[in-house]
Subunit: 164 residues, 2 copies
């Protein structure tokens, strides 16, 4: 039986982050916690692992991440579980608002460039269809239409005042 020495190999597996794959002992070790602590957290509603058909808890990658986050709050910052619960709620809220802000910023930016583009387009069409045309008499609507940039500038200033 001169067996070849055992060799430790490394494998890589693709798993959905919300798929329950770790049993409680593994999840506890990954999160540096006591298994019983994980059960307590579940009873408190801080975490909700899936269950196997046999009833054993199955923790997903996301669950482990959450556990680590909780561990950091309790061990390093000294929060109790009531505090953890509240903080998790607030952090969710903050993330939601951040996403909202991103979208609003993009929308505001779009609307402004849209405005500039549209006016530019109008100006171009105007010229294309009426050329050749003599320079509009100063002070007329046509004169203003011939160059819309001053309006845009005034526009930006007006908004700038009410901001930040």
């Amino acid at each position: 039986m001169a067996s070849t020495p055992l060799r430790r190999t490394v494998t890589r597996v693709e798993v959905a982050t919300d798929r329950g794959v770790f049993m409680i002992s593994v999840a506890a070790e990954l999160a540096h916690m006591h298994p019983q602590t994980l059960r307590t957290y579940e009873a408190r509603g801080l975490i909700a692992p899936k269950r196997s058909p046999k009833g054993t808890r199955l923790y997903s990658h996301q669950d482990v991440e959450r556990l680590r986050h909780i561990q950091q709050m309790t061990a390093e910052l000294g929060l109790n579980l009531a505090g953890v619960q509240r903080v998790l709620d607030l952090e969710d809220e903050v993330h939601g608002m951040n996403a909202r802000i991103e979208k609003l910023e993009a929308r505001a930016r779009d609307a402004e460039t849209e405005l500039a583009e549209r006016l530019e387009e109008v100006r171009r069409s105007f010229r294309a269809e009426l050329v050749p045309f003599s320079k509009p008499r100063p002070g007329t609507e046509l004169a203003r239409l011939a160059d819309v940039r001053p309006a845009l500038r005034a526009n930006r200033q007006r908004r700038g005042r009410s901001e930040r």
Copy 2:
């Protein structure tokens, strides 16, 4: 000594909300706390009352509000002080973000109505100076210029897709 019976009267005073006016015993009573608890909170950095020239703590109306808020978190929700600290920070953040969202929403709304107004104005000027004018031939730039609303509508839809 047939003194007239004492009569309790009510007075009203205007005071800046950040002006230190309550000594510790009063502030403690207003917040339903023990005076010593207030000193502990100050040592923990949860509250920062002003000081009189003699060194006695002076709590403002805002301070009392904050104390009540802390009291509600510890007594009703069961947070410990570490949790309170973190929650207060997060709540500040949420308030700041809320203000930011308000401004962004107003700005986006302005930009959109601005766009509509500007185009409408262009259209009106156009008509005013060129009337009487025959109906533009369909498919020409002039036909599109004569009514800008379809462009606006398409515009809104395009933005709508990338939203919420």
